[in-house]
């Protein structure tokens, strides 16, 4: 798909003016924004409505340009070369009679699309120019120079949901139920009480007697009461032993604790 022969043939028919234009394009190749931009600029040399442009002519122009650039050893970006290859293909499509076996789009369709792309690019450039030509803020019209800032007043509102409320209440009531157990005197015999009681009783305990026998009436059966009474009584007996009022003995570990009044003679 080397189009060199046809191109050189075509190149002979382009006018001097066009060749000069092409050379100017080559010098300025960096100034183009890609092949489409270059093609659009070239199409201007046809001096016709873009809709009536000769795409074949344009393709030849472009290919000639690429060849010249190659001769001048100008580095061209890959997309310029891709466009050249595509245009060479398009040109062959346009020149050769259509092959009925070929399923692809016809040369005319491809050419029409290229013409459309050029026309659209051109239109968008004009639109861009019109847009920039409009009155612009800060240049032609102006916003308020002393904008008065909206002062923000912050107000805090508090919310709570019904659920919060109910849970809050539930929390308090639950806390009541779990409140650290204030000693229920019904189940507690304090050491003071036990001591009081022992002081009275000990005068009658000349013989060894089990600690349990000193428990108050009614405290021996209920386990909670018995536990409390036993502990208090034991503590009270230790207190009395310390004061030299009683003697305590225990034959084995866990054996019953026994005590008796300390014989007067020893005191």
């Amino acid at each position: 798909m080397t189009p060199s022969d046809e191109t050189s043939g075509g190149a002979t028919v382009v006018s001097v003016h066009e060749r000069l234009a092409s050379e100017a394009l080559i010098v300025d190749v960096d100034g183009f924004e890609g092949p489409l931009d270059l093609l659009l600029t070239m199409s201007r040399t046809q001096k016709v409505d873009l809709r009536k442009i000769s795409v074949l002519h344009l393709a030849e122009q472009y290919l000639a340009f690429i060849n010249q650039a190659r001769d001048l050893r100008i580095e061209l970006a890959a997309d310029y070369l891709v466009m050249a290859a595509w245009l060479a293909f398009l040109k062959s499509r346009l020149l050769l009679p259509p092959d009925p076996a070929d399923e692809g789009p016809s040369g005319e369709e491809l050419a029409a699309h290229l013409a459309f792309q050029l026309e659209r690019l051109s239109a968008m450039r004009e639109a861009a120019a019109k847009l920039m030509a409009r009155d612009q803020k800060g240049r032609d019209f102006f916003a308020r120079g002393i904008p008065e800032d909206v002062t923000r007043v912050r107000r805090v509102t508090y919310t709570a949901t019904l659920l919060d409320l109910m849970q809050g209440y539930a929390r308090i009531r639950t806390r009541d139920e779990f409140r650290p157990f204030t000693m229920d005197r019904r189940y507690v015999l304090t050491m003071e009480e036990a001591l009081d009681r022992m002081r009275h009783l000990i005068g009658f305990a000349g013989e060894w007697a089990d600690l349990t026998s000193f428990l108050p009436e009614g405290w021996e059966t209920d386990p909670a009461r018995r536990r409390s009474a036993t502990a208090a009584t034991f503590a009270a007996s230790l207190e009395l032993a310390k004061a030299g009022k009683v003697e305590i003995r225990q034959s084995d570990p866990f054996a019953p604790i026994q005590m008796r009044r300390r014989p007067q003679s020893d005191g």
Partner: protein, 236 residues
């Protein structure tokens, strides 16, 4: 000086145009603009003083005013519309736990004195908490309790009912309902079942009367404990 010759050379724009110009300049300037600057910026022969006079009149009674700031002129918001330049941002916060609990106690036990609230909560209630609830208009002062010291009581308000979507404080679920709804998952303390039932009865009695009776009731009425009976009847 050379004014007269120049005036003949340059036709000053009509006063209406000059007024437009002053209007635009004052609007767009970042600072008040003095007469000399106005004259310098306007076409030759324009009279900023006169134009400002007209403009000032034109803005009389409008939403913005042409005002003199020192030696210069500016356009400012009419002073009566200053409120429009404030944007209120409302920040919503969760009520504190102390406040919620205090509120809950008042709602369930109203009318409740501060001492009662403290007794139920087990901690003292700060002045701030009560004030906050008063400010929110969720509680208000109820009747004074006819006990020594005549302590003030607190009751919940209509705003409270509105906020919590209640028709009356008696619509608040009782302890048993809270428990069956899973809001109160503690098992009743052993042997407390009896007490609890009593408490609930008592409690529902307590707040039934309050919401209605305290709305508009006379604050220092003597019959502090009277309305409960009526309500108890309602109940049956």
């Amino acid at each position: 000086m050379a004014d007269e010759t120049e005036e003949s050379l340059f036709e000053a724009p009509p006063m209406g145009e000059q007024e437009r110009m002053v209007e635009a300049i004052l609007f767009a300037s970042a600072e008040p603009v003095g007469i000399p600057e106005l004259n310098a910026r306007m076409p030759h022969g324009a009279d900023a003083v006169e134009a400002i006079g007209h403009l000032r009149k034109r803005y009389e009674g409008r939403g913005v005013q042409v005002v003199k700031v020192g030696d210069a002129w500016a356009i400012r918001t009419a002073s009566d519309l200053g409120f429009l330049m404030q944007k209120e941002t409302v920040e919503t916060r969760k009520l504190s736990r102390a406040a919620i609990e205090t509120l809950a106690i008042i709602a369930y036990h109203q009318p409740a004195t501060r001492a009662e609230i403290e007794e139920i909560r087990g901690v003292s209630v700060s002045r701030g908490t009560i004030d906050q609830l008063l400010e929110l208009e969720w509680i208000r002062l109820g009747r004074r309790r006819m006990t020594p010291g005549r302590p003030v009581t607190f009751v919940v308000t209509q705003s409270f009912l509105d906020h919590f979507g209640l028709e009356s404080a008696r619509d608040l679920p009782g302890l048993k309902e809270l428990r069956s709804a899973g809001l109160l998952d503690s098992r009743p303390a052993p042997g407390a079942a009896e007490d609890e039932r009593d408490e609930n009865d008592e409690q529902s009695d307590m707040f039934e009367g309050a919401a209605e009776d305290d709305d508009g009731g006379d604050v220092f009425g003597e019959e502090a404990s009277e309305p409960e009976d009526a309500d108890a009847e309602d109940e049956r």
